[in-house]
């Protein structure tokens, strides 16, 4: 199954997220991740939805999204040259024996340590999905206590 990234420009109104989520549930489309936030225009929000499906499914998803009155624009940016980023916070076990090693890893991934506990650290990192997966894998041997990923946000490169 292909993953597509859709940028969905919507009215910044109550209930819009529910409308979109209900549409996906009702039509049995699989959401891989969904993020939503404000844009440069306070009246408009932007969702980044990663959805699984072949081209036919994505075409249906797009058309169905357009039927929602609060959806202004849907852009499939999968094939576009786009910057995509995710933010991840990882609380990892870190006693004195492994701390140095972890700090090294943090440097390699250009991540940051944002909290230090007696036996743990919280690491913050941003990057594309592949990098976040690699980061997660690298920290796993130390013992991940808690992990949270924001899901992807994306933007097309250039002046488009």
């Amino acid at each position: 199954m292909n993953k597509h990234t859709l940028a969905v420009i919507v009215e910044n109104k109550p209930g819009v997220l529910t409308r979109v989520a209900t549409l996906f549930r009702r039509r049995c489309y699989n959401i891989d991740s969904l993020t939503v936030g404000t844009t440069e225009n306070p009246g408009i929000s932007r969702m980044t939805i990663v959805v699984e499906g072949d081209n036919k499914v994505i075409e249906q998803v797009t058309k169905q999204l357009y039927k929602l009155v609060d959806v202004i624009k849907v852009i499939d940016i999968t094939r576009e040259s786009a910057v995509d980023r995710e933010l991840v916070l990882i609380k990892v076990k870190a006693d004195n024996n492994v701390r140095a090693e972890i700090v090294q890893l943090v440097d390699i991934f250009r991540a940051r340590i944002v909290d230090i506990g007696r036996n743990s650290l919280i690491v913050e990192a941003t990057g594309d999905r592949g990098k976040m997966d690699a980061l997660e894998d690298s920290f796993r041997p130390f013992g991940i206590i808690e992990l949270v990923r924001t899901g992807k946000v994306a933007m097309v490169r250039g002046s488009k």
Partner: protein, 563 residues
């Protein structure tokens, strides 16, 4: 000018041209009903909110206008749900107003509070929860605009009580509706029109498959023009009955599960299928791989999401059916004949007419009743139906000549739709005879509306095809569940004649063939109240022919004389 929210609401309704609303009062809509008390808008008091919303739907289907209904918060709103879903599935323009508890109580589980915008989200084209009295005028305008443009559908507007009570300085304006995310579809892709024209010009065995979109788009005249110019046979869906005259030599009747063999065979053999305002519903296509297997498909629909949803099409045309046909017709080269194709079709028509057997003693064939209704009205009536066998016989044995004369819950299949829809239709078209073809099961789902029809002197005729069974389910149990009639026997039922009389309506019972015509004639004479005719029909008559579930539409069951 200082005006209450409720007064602004009614003012806006009048501006939208609303002259009648169907509804049921309650606590949260008291301010609206107080304003209605002095209003020139006619209000029809239903006996159940479901009756109100189906009546608004019947009104909309019969008139082409937007139907309006009002109910209170909580149970008032939830009772509307079936009717809203019915309208949604059949793309019927409705604006539904529900009361809501006062703003400060929303989310507090207040008395009669229900999240009606949440509940109706997947069954409305759009919905609104009013947040400020200042928004009433804009929202009402948007609601009507959305309901009736593009692919029509129901819009719910939820109105908190305090915001209807509140007075504000109101100044009317004639601003255009402005919505970034909603634009009215105009124009069609001329490249695709050219492709379609070429395909139709070259077709040897074309078929038009026409649906409710033709009626919604008021495109019956264009459809007829195209079919006649090109001598193309036309089959309609249940929703498309009346979009093309059933009396035309080009008419194949309905297609699909209970369509004619001729229509299904023609679709099976056609080389070009022109699908107009349809959505390739499973009751039409049956097993989709076997549907129109040899055809190139042209699909015209206003809703882009319908194109390619169920079948892949060769020529997609997104736009108003009327506009698309208007630009298509001049590009078609009129044909003299399509003799070979027409000969094949007439052979099917002769070989496989719709037919039925003889009744047992004290019973009538249900198909005969429908044929008699046609014979007496000559198609100059509005037929509404309930759902099940009655609905299929009404579609098969009556020839619909005009759009908006066959009102039936096609998509959702709502039992209890026909009678309240008939009331709405009669109010919309008092000049027309309105007849509800009902079953004994369905009619009991909204029979309380007899009260409404008697109160407002609405002379609709309810023809109950009474087989003392939930007939369609029984038919399936008979065919596919070894005749185990699990809970489909409805022999225990009220005396419908006495029930009609108890409400102040007229009740007639008919158990013999020779009484059918007299009873219908008598019923058609009544002008000041509804009539129930309780036709005792053959208990185990089946609807034939039939495509069994999961089968190819070419493998139809039944329809032979011995049944």
């Amino acid at each position: 000018m200082k005006m209450k929210g409720a007064e602004i609401l009614l003012h806006c309704l009048q501006k939208e041209g609303v002259d009648v609303v169907f509804g049921y009062p309650g606590g949260a809509v008291l301010p609206i009903y107080d304003a209605l008390y002095d209003s020139s808008i006619k209000h029809i008091l239903a006996r159940h909110e479901q009756g109100a919303v189906h009546a608004a739907d019947g009104y909309a289907r019969a008139s082409g206008k937007t139907g309006v209904c009002i109910a209170t918060s909580g149970p008032g709103g939830t009772n509307l749900v079936t009717g809203i879903a019915t309208a949604y599935m059949d793309s019927i323009p409705l604006v539904v107003f529900t009361g809501q508890v006062s703003s400060s109580l929303i989310g507090k589980d207040a008395f009669q509070e229900a999240d009606i915008t949440g509940i109706t989200l997947p069954i409305t084209k759009h919905n609104y929860l009013l947040e400020r009295t200042e928004d009433v005028a804009r929202i009402v305008k948007e609601a009507f605009h959305i309901a009736r443009t593009n692919r029509p559908g129901p819009v719910v507007v939820d109105l908190p009580k305090d915001l209807m009570e509140k007075s504000i300085d109101f100044e009317d304006n004639d601003d255009e509706v402005q919505m970034r995310g909603y634009r009215v579809m105009k124009g069609v892709n001329s490249g695709q029109i050219i492709n379609a024209a070429e395909m139709i010009n070259q077709a040897e065995r074309p078929v038009i498959y026409a649906g409710g979109g033709v009626i919604a788009s008021e495109a019956s005249a264009e459809l007829k023009e195209m079919a006649e110019k090109m001598k193309i046979p036309v089959t309609t869906t249940l929703m498309g009955m009346g979009a093309f005259p059933g009396t035309s030599y080009l008419s194949l009747g309905m297609l699909g599960m209970h369509g004619t063999r001729c229509a299904n065979y023609a679709v099976g053999e056609c080389d070009v299928l022109i699908a107009v305002g349809v959505r390739f519903d499973d009751r039409v296509t049956a097993k989709i791989e076997h549907f129109a297997p040899n055809a190139s498909i042209i699909h015209i629909d206003i809703d882009a999401a319908e194109i390619g949803k169920n079948v892949d099409v060769d020529v997609p045309i997104v736009g108003q059916v009327k506009e698309a046909l208007r630009s298509l017709i001049p590009r078609l080269q009129a044909r003299e004949e399509l003799s070979e194709w027409h000969q094949t079709i007439s052979r099917w028509k002769d070989e496989f007419p719709l037919r039925y057997g003889r009744p047992s003693e004290g019973r009538i064939m249900p198909q005969h009743v429908v044929e008699k209704i046609y014979e007496l009205t000559q198609g100059d009536a509005i037929i509404t139906t309930e759902v099940g066998q009655n609905q299929m016989w009404a579609a098969q044995y009556y020839q619909y000549k005009e759009p908006r004369t066959f009102l039936s819950s096609g998509g959702l299949g709502t039992m209890g739709y026909g009678f309240p829809a008939a009331i709405g239709a009669k109010i919309a078209r008092p000049d027309m005879k309105v007849i509800d073809i009902a079953g004994d099961g369905s009619i009991q789902m909204n029979i309380q509306e007899l009260g409404t029809a008697v109160q407002y002197k609405v002379p609709v005729v309810i023809c109950i095809l009474n087989n003392h069974f939930l007939g369609m389910v029984r038919q399936w149990q008979g065919l596919f569940y070894n005749g185990r009639y699990s809970f489909t026997d409805m022999s225990h039922q009220p005396d419908f004649v006495k029930l009609a009389e108890a409400y102040g309506a007229v009740g007639i019972r008919v158990t013999k063939n020779e009484e059918v015509e007299g009873a219908l004639r008598e019923a058609f004479q009544v002008t000041d109240r509804p009539v129930i005719i309780d036709f005792w029909v053959e208990r185990e008559a089946n609807v034939y022919p039939m495509v069994p579930p999961g089968e190819s539409p070419l493998n139809m069951l039944g329809g032979e004389l011995d049944e």
